[in-house]
């Protein structure tokens, strides 16, 4: 073992050596620095490995041959080893990244850099508080010096603000240290811990001074204007060092000080962190400069880490895991992002669209952003999960809300940025070149995130979480992304079939229904993908990621697995949605609603785990602590995915703008994940014997109103896919309504709707999507008469709209009939009436859909369009067969469904007598009705066909219109706003109140952000005033 003192010695030695040897050239000195840093990294790693895996005990290093307090001692424990490893590793990678910049500035800069890393190491290891002061001064000076790596006035003023601010802080620190010595006679931290400093006379003030300066070093909001500037102004590679390495060291300093400060500080530390976390992320919303935004994000993350430090006693043995989980994700991701920002060199967020040219960079950027937000499989996901669970368990729900709120703010600006990168308008196509030494560190940190995620997942309770089979499959598809669509699509389909085959015996009936929808539906939607030529880069990995998440939800045995799958699914679907044209904003709002919903679910899971000894998903069946809130949160979380009214504004755009074969995935399939969640929640409430009648009552009204508003809004759409999207909202409203009834029939109706909606909405989205591919427009009034060109598409749409509208004899009627019976038996007459009114409204948009597209006059520019692609026809007609089977033999599906529902609602099911279903009030024989109607239809059709056998087929314009014969299709145009009268009468119901509400909310938040950030006047002196005022305020808060 190399003793840790060599970390310091190496740096100092190499530093001096460079002073002597700089005549050998800067490349030589640069190599020397790299060698020194790699040796330092090696030492830390060696200690880390020995302390963690070989159960070595922590080691003290005494300098100068004396015992403390007369000499300085260093400690190398497990946490120290992790922290120094992090610092040295990022120091090494940063030196690689900064190689050219440092070389340009000369060997002095190289030495200063080395000294900075060394100083950070000492900050972590030293146990002497005055030494802490000295090295924090060295750090400040070194940072202030290295800020000047970036040329220009901005970096100078930022550096100056930084140095004066840190001087003020260190003055406070020094006063604290001196008095600490005066009253105790020692400077050693271990002694302070032993004698409990605050019991001395004046001890609390001393602790206050030391503590506040340690906190101020971490740039707490709002006394942090000086800290943000350096992120923006210094060279990107150096911002990465500040964000990753300095932060790690400063947090460690705070941790050491907290060790002797006493438990009464914990609450205030947590509070300071929370204010920083929320405040900083709030202000991040308004930033359009990348670096500055990343700076806000860094400070926000540090705030979260400070909060965790404040909660370390409460979190107990999980605290280190949570702390390092979040710290490491932040550390790698933020370093990576800052480095990327140096490579891309686009200061404005919108200018990041140039990153698209190099998809691989986009992948790296996505990795970092998802790691920061806390998506699986990154360490932060597990850390955040544990954090929320533990906080809720200890009754700190308010804090959880704060954390989730701050995370949401952070997600807003990060994903907005990511959206610009993926989909923003490429303004200028400036070339940028990727230097090898700059991209290597970025790759290393990105891969480290995945590797760490993998290892963290092995940490005690997480071991069982990850079903690696789907993820490995995703990775495989990602690896072969360079191959043509034909191969990838085939592999994807075979993989999904195989996975379905292996997984289905393990699922109960409830889950099997959803698994069929998710996987079989997914396979059918994928068939349409054969249409695509070329490579379709990026599509297959994300689509499969979504399916992996969806199946993960179903396979979940524990709440953690469920949440894991849920987040994977969200990530995958986000990428699927954002692939569409013009879908940037929609994908963002989708992501935000999904995240907010996921946070609600997470909190609810936390509440559910209170008083439980297991993570099993069944704990939601027996929530002991504030169950009503937990169930409400769960339902709200799932309703964001089913797009219930109020939470629906993401859906229309997201579905309408998605690619033709993606729309069915995100509409017919993805929404069912929310349905599954609601089913789970309602079962958890105790199904028949639930005591939450108010909650389900509200849910019922919400479902009915969603059905009404969704359908009504669909009526007034001119965009075919948007119409279908609103229609989905309405249909999901029925489903929610049905489940909310909490009766056997209600559930049966809801499941019937779920299955039906999957089938006919898949058909409709696939068909309309295929038509759109042919006619190149979404607007229905630009189409018309396509029946003659696309009879297969027409028949598909005809059948599915008959099914959707619920007209007998097709399968939609089953749902209507069940719902009617359920409503009457349940006694929800008014809600039921609303639901039926919306069912009738469906006719309006369905008529509009089919007639505007397929009937009427063919447009001149569509005279040469062909039938929709065979790759769409195949899945469409497979689904139609399914629809027909369901219509002709409903008992095939309804009977097993009934059996399954009987587990939860044993009473009030359907009685089956052959094909005749009866309830206590009604009866229905699906098969016979099908036969009767079929025979009658056939007779009448042949009768008419016989009578008008001589009818003469006429040309297109053989009509008379207001006394004129039209000769172009345009003059016959009435498919625009065809329900004008209806709009006059009822349009007020679908004025965009809800969109307005969310827009207003967004604006208010942004305005607050814009207003608050004005405290950062840019004036260094003002920042000093902030610091002083901050100290005063904390003083009064603490000493009350």
């Amino acid at each position: 073992m190399v003793t840790p003192i060599f970390i310091v010695a190496t740096a100092l030695g190499v530093g001096f050596a460079i002073g002597v040897l700089n005549k050998f050239g800067r490349n030589f000195t640069g190599a020397l620095v790299l060698a020194a840093l790699s040796f330092m990294t090696f030492i830390s790693f060696q200690w880390f490995y020995a302390l963690t895996f070989n159960n070595l005990s922590e080691a003290y290093v005494f300098t100068g041959g004396f015992k403390p307090p007369f000499a300085i001692n260093l400690l190398m424990g497990q946490y120290e080893s992790i922290a120094t490893l992090m610092i040295n590793l990022i120091g090494f990678l940063g030196a690689v990244y900064l190689y050219k910049s440092l070389k340009e500035r000369g060997s002095d800069a190289q030495v200063v850099y080395l000294i900075l890393i060394m100083a950070l190491n000492v900050l972590v290891m030293t146990r002497d508080i005055f030494n802490l002061f000295v090295f924090s001064e060295i750090t400040s000076v070194a940072i202030a010096g290295l800020i000047l790596l970036e040329k220009g006035t901005r970096s100078i003023s930022a550096g100056f603000k930084y140095i004066i601010a840190t001087s003020v802080i260190s003055t406070i620190f020094l006063i604290g240290i001196v008095f600490a010595y005066f009253i105790t006679g020692t400077l050693n931290i271990d002694d302070f811990i032993g004698i409990s400093l605050s019991t001395y006379k004046g001890g609390t003030i001393v602790v206050f001074l030391i503590m506040i300066s340690a906190v101020l070093e971490l740039k707490p909001f709002p006394a942090n204007g000086w800290g943000i500037d350096i992120y923006e102004a210094s060279e990107a590679g150096f911002s990465a060092i500040i964000s990753a390495a300095t932060t790690t060291a400063s947090l460690f300093v705070l941790y050491k000080i907290m060790a002797f400060a006493g438990a009464e500080w914990n609450y205030y530390i947590a509070l300071i962190g929370m204010i920083t976390f929320i405040g900083s992320n709030l202000l991040g919303l308004k930033q359009d400069n990348t670096r500055r935004m990343l700076g806000y994000s860094s400070i926000g993350q540090v705030g979260l880490l400070i909060t965790i430090l404040g909660f370390k006693d409460i979190l107990g043995e999980n605290a280190p895991f949570i702390f390092f989980g979040i710290l490491i994700s932040h550390y790698f991701a933020k370093a990576g992002l800052f480095w990327l920002s140096g490579i891309i060199n686009a200061s404005n967020l919108k200018a990041w669209s140039i990153i698209r040219k190099k998809p691989i960079l986009l992948f790296l950027m996505g990795t970092f952003i998802f790691a920061l937000i806390g998506f699986p499989p990154f360490p932060s996901f597990f850390a955040k999960w544990t954090l929320v669970m533990d906080l809720v368990k200890t009754g700190n729900i308010v804090w959880v809300i704060g954390i989730l709120l701050g995370s949401l703010f952070e997600a807003i600006y990060l994903f907005r940025w990511f959206g610009y990168a993926i989909k923003g308008d490429a303004e200028k196509t400036e070339e940028y070149k990727i230097e090898f030494h700059k991209i290597i560190p970025v790759w290393i940190v990105a891969l480290s995130l995945y590797v760490l995620g993998y290892f963290i997942a092995q940490y005690n309770e997480f071991t069982s979480v990850i079903n690696f089979i789907p993820l490995a499959f995703v990775a495989l598809i990602f690896a072969i992304d360079f191959m043509p669509v034909l191969i990838k699509n085939t592999i994807a389909i075979i993989g999904m079939i195989f996975y379905f085959y292996t997984i289905y015996p393990q699922l109960d009936n409830l889950r099997l229904i959803f698994e069929v929808i998710f996987l079989i539906g997914g396979i059918l939607a994928l068939i349409a993908g054969y249409l695509h030529k070329g490579k379709r880069i990026g599509f297959y990995p994300v689509a499969l990621l979504m399916y992996a998440g969806l199946t993960g939800i179903l396979e979940a045995k524990t709440t953690l697995e469920f949440f894991y799958g849920w987040e994977l699914m969200t990530a995958g679907s986000y990428f699927l949605i954002i692939r569409g044209k013009r879908s940037m904003t929609h994908a963002l709002s989708y992501m935000l609603f999904s995240l907010a919903g996921a946070y609600a679910i997470l909190t609810a899971f936390g509440i559910a785990s209170v008083g439980q000894s297991t993570w099993s998903l069944s704990i939601i069946n027996n929530i002991q602590y504030i169950p009503l809130w937990a169930y409400s949160l769960l339902i709200i979380g799932f309703l964001t995915k089913t797009a219930s009214i109020g939470l629906h504004i993401w859906l229309p755009g997201a579905h309408a703008e998605a690619e033709s074969d993606v729309s069915p995935m995100v509409s017919a399939i993805l929404l069912k994940a929310g349905v599954f969640g609601i089913v789970l929640t309602l079962i958890g409430m105790g199904a028949e014997n639930n005591q939450y009648s108010e909650l389900v009552y509200v849910l019922g009204w919400l479902g009915a109103i969603t059905a009404l508003i969704g359908n009504l809004a669909a009526v007034f759409q001119e965009d075919a896919k948007r119409l279908l999207a609103y229609s989905s909202i309405g249909q999901l409203g029925y489903i929610v309504f049905g489940f909310a009834m909490m009766t056997h029939l209600g559930w049966l109706a809801a499941f019937t709707y779920t299955i039906n909606h999957f089938m006919y909405k898949s058909i409709l989205f696939l068909t309309i999507g295929a038509v759109v591919l042919r006619v190149k427009t979404h607007n229905m009034y630009e189409m018309g008469g396509l029946i003659k060109k696309m009879p297969f598409a027409f028949i598909a749409v005809l059948i599915s709209i008959i099914a959707l509208s619920g007209v007998p004899p097709l399968s939609g009627f089953a749902g209507k009939w069940l719902l009617y019976n359920a409503v009457i038996l349940k006694g929800w007459y008014l809600q039921g009436a609303i639901a039926f009114f919306s069912g009738i409204i469906a006719f309006l948009y369905l008529f509009k859909l089919i007639s505007s597209i397929f009937l009427g006059q063919l447009k001149d520019n569509h005279r040469n369009v062909k039938e929709i692609s065979i790759w769409f026809i195949i899945p469409i007609y497979i689904l139609i067969v399914g629809l027909m089977i369901f219509a002709a033999k409903p008992e095939l599906i309804l009977q097993p469904l009934g059996t399954m529902i009987s587990q939860y609602f044993p009473e009030g099911g359907l009685n089956w007598n052959g094909g005749m279903a009866t309830t206590s009030i009604g009866y229905w024989h699906g098969t016979h009705i099908m036969i009767i109607v079929g025979i009658m239809f056939a007779i009448l059709f042949s009768w008419l066909a016989f009578l008008s056998r001589k009818a003469q087929k006429v040309k297109q314009f053989n009509i008379v219109y207001s006394g004129e014969r039209p000769f172009t299709p345009e003059t016959t145009h009435v498919s625009y706003n065809i329900f004008a009268g209806y709009n006059k009468a009822l349009g007020f119901l679908v004025l965009p109140w809800i969109t307005d509400f969310w827009t207003l909310t967004t604006n208010i938040v942004h305005d607050i952000s814009g207003f608050v950030r004005r405290i950062y006047s840019g004036n260094g002196q003002t920042y000093l005033t902030h610091i002083v005022l901050y100290v005063v305020v904390i003083y009064f808060v603490f000493f009350n």
């Binding site: 006035t153 550096g159 003055t171 001196v178 500037d229 004005r1014 006047s1017 004036n1019």
Partner: protein, 129 residues
């Protein structure tokens, strides 16, 4: 009447140290000229140094240097007759650090002046919000 017990060299210096720190801080927060702000930092530094030394000072004891003025007897701990050496060591470090920081600040001041031909701190607010 002032309690004479506190009317000692150490206490007066202590008070002086505090006053200088406060004056220095006041200067830092009110002066607009960057050089003056740096000067105010120097004043505060001097104040802190005085503070530290006066805290370690005990009346009637000599400097912590082992020479003729300290009666050396075998087996007797010399620490009884000298003032606490640790604060003085701290001050030495602090002086050097203070000088380094001041020098760096002045270097910055020069660069700032070269960039904008002014030393008024309000002019250097191009990074904000």
């Amino acid at each position: 009447m002032i309690n004479t017990e506190y009317f000692t060299l150490g206490h007066i210096s202590l008070l002086l140290g505090f006053i200088l720190i406060i004056v220095g801080f006041w200067g830092i927060l009110t002066q607009k000229n960057i050089v003056k702000i740096i000067l105010a930092f120097s004043i505060a530094d001097a104040g802190i140094n005085i503070l530290i030394v006066s805290l370690g000072y005990v009346i009637g004891k000599t400097a912590p240097i082992i020479d003729g003025s300290v009666v050396q007897k075998a087996g007797i701990d010399v620490s009884d007759s000298i003032v606490d050496p640790v604060p003085q060591a701290l001050v030495l470090t602090s002086i050097v650090i203070g000088f380094g920081v001041t020098a760096l600040m002045l270097a910055y001041a020069m660069k700032l002046f070269t960039a904008k031909k002014t030393l008024h701190i309000n002019k250097f607010n191009d990074l904000k919000w």
